[in-house]
Symmetry: C2
Subunit: 234 residues, 2 copies
């Protein structure tokens, strides 16, 4: 393989939901880079692809990206990560960066790509799409994301109430990401609006996966960063 | 395998973009059902999975679903398809229905599922998520669908101008599906609004795939039903 960075979307968590292409390129890569939230943590993405990586002939590098911090605090981590990746590619290595879900939607990869373009624009980047958790959650919740001429919105639930309400009124299906921090407000708003089915999907494809078809059954202990709510007009 | 209907999302077209699970269940199924637009056509989905189906031990059934017709005209086709699938499952067969993209988003499967629930609710249905063309198109166009707290809208471009304009103003990224029939109006609207990158992606993952980073370079001969435009604020 020619030296380059390959962003491999590994899907929501089930190792069987990686694409054939993603699995092949992971097996062929010289180096697999897996992001993790802190030095003491395991890499979620790394653990998902563990069965595809052969440590006897491939190098596995874990890079630390603290989550839930401001852009200014994160930038130095991304720059260091980009420098490390660029150096590997310059030495002729094929580097596969594994990212949960799809590389083009709310992924860690997009930050890495931005840095790489700035500091090492000569590094070739290939993107292998992966299954977003949104699709896996819709299957688990048994809620269509869109039929025929329907409209779909995907947004972080942290938006201020007015815009969230407006979006819920205007779209047939709304997927609320990062919902755990504002769950009570979202639940109250949905009750007030009525006329909608709402399903809370927690950690789809990961340990602790759960589906709640009744939002009132969701307790504080069920809230998780990797969770979402799908709302659909009935 | 236990008798049931399995909806397998086969992704946008590249056979390597099927998931490991989708490929395995297709190989294990007794019957593979592939939809096609008319009796004289080949099945696009069927041709994508041809390399995974073994006709010496598996049955391949093509079902006709005319596209771009009204719901009333289509319903009899879906009912007949659902009856055929239900009969196969009742006889103990495992039936894999292949659908382009993801089964939960703008898929043929959602119509089949609706009919099956009405006429044969006892048939177990399993859904295996697939890669939507939206993600593959974003990778090809090199346009993120969402970063950090951004908002994404997906809608058929056939909506009347006022709502389309409103959505383009309110969302960071907008994916316009089924854009070929209203391409000129969409192009004019985007010119008027300004401040956005727009990429036309034609037949992603299929024969005839093409990417246009300049909408003015898109001629009438480039318009295709399986095409979309990704619009992103800059």
């Amino acid at each position: 393989m020619s030296a380059r960075l390959i962003a491999v979307g590994i899907g929501p968590g089930d190792p069987e939901l990686i694409t054939l292409k993603g699995a092949r390129l992971l097996r062929e890569a010289d180096v697999v880079v897996a992001p993790k939230a802190s030095a003491g943590d395991d890499s979620v993405a790394g653990s998902i692809v563990a069965g595809l990586v052969d440590l006897s002939r491939q190098q596995l590098i874990e890079q630390v990206y603290p989550m839930r911090k401001g852009q200014e605090e994160l930038d130095p981590f991304w720059r260091a990560a980009a420098l490390e990746v660029a150096e590997l590619v310059r030495r002729g290595q094929t580097v596969a960066f594994v990212t949960l879900g799809d590389p083009m939607l709310y992924s860690t990869f997009l930050y890495l790509q931005r840095q790489l373009r700035a500091i090492a624009p000569e590094v070739p980047i290939e993107i292998v799409s992966g299954l977003s958790s949104i699709h896996a959650a819709a299957a688990l919740a048994d809620l269509p994301l869109g039929i025929a001429d329907e409209r779909l919105a995907v947004l972080p639930a942290t938006f201020e109430d007015g815009r969230l309400r407006q979006t819920l009124l205007e779209f047939d299906t709304v997927v609320l990401m990062k919902v755990s921090r504002v769950f009570d407000k979202v639940r109250a708003l949905l009750k007030e609006l009525g006329g909608r089915r709402a399903v809370y999907v927690k950690r789809v494809g990961l340990p602790g996966e759960a589906v709640f078809h009744d939002l009132d059954a969701v307790g504080p202990e069920d809230l998780d960063y990797l969770s979402l709510v799908i709302v659909r007009k009935v």
